[in-house]
Amino acid sequence: MSEQPPTTPTTLATTSRGFGRALVFVYGIFAFSATGRSSYQLATKASEAPLAYSLSALAAVVYIVATWALGTGRHPIAVGAVVVELLGVIVIGATIHPSDPAKATVWSGFGSGYGYVPLVLPFVGLWWLWRTRPTA
């Protein structure tokens, strides 16, 4: 994989064509909302729940990287980001049960505050990355 040229027209952004167009948009929405939630939490009440808010910020970074990598066809980076996303939603979903929804992250309760889309999304992402894997 490392032998191939970094950006040939055929490999560039195949992950953002067709179905990928919609997938990147969903990732973008989560990047936007996770960033908004996280910066709001850190700006207004960072000391209340430092762990939850740090995880919130981590989720935002993961969604931003996944959106960028899927949107620009950076396949290996996208796989890395989506795997971290999958681990994040499962580990945080299984371990952190915030009683106060204001201290929640996008991933707490397996993404129940977002219609469980955060739980489904990494599986769809991995399936799509498998479909668009480089054939080299």
Binding site: R17, G18, F19, A22, A102
Partner: protein, 119 residues
């Protein structure tokens, strides 16, 4: 939800049904779809102005930052979705707009909840 948000939600629902038909027919965005999106966006501008007027009035301890964030999010999601979809000449581009009109009613619900005090 207020009347404007309800009307916009119904319009989102109708647009979503139309977009599903277009996706099944493998169409890109046509004049009818575009007209529907423009009508929605005009409503969202009104929603933003109305929301800002509310925030600058008596807002009895509502989380203003979050409220304005959702207002702006609702304002920009259609234009951004449209720009992102136009270069995709397949049903994938139409699906982007379907997602946008499905997310909008959720944003209205969040705006309603934030105003009611349960952030």
């Amino acid at each position: 939800m207020n009347t404007l948000q309800l009307v916009l939600s119904v319009l989102c629902g109708l647009t979503a049904l139309w977009l599903i038909v277009e996706i099944i027919r493998d169409r890109t965005v046509g004049n009818v779809t575009f007209a529907g999106l423009v009508a929605l966006e005009i409503g969202l501008v009104v929603e933003l102005l109305w929301g800002l007027a509310r925030v600058f009035g008596d807002h009895h301890g509502v989380a203003v930052g979050a409220y304005v964030g959702y207002l702006v999010g609702a304002l920009v999601i259609l234009p951004i979705g449209f720009i992102w979809s136009v270069s995709e000449k397949s049903r994938g581009g139409t699906a982007v707009l379907l997602i946008a009109v499905l997310v909008l009613p959720v944003l209205f619900l969040r705006l309603h909840d934030i105003w009611a005090g349960h952030v």
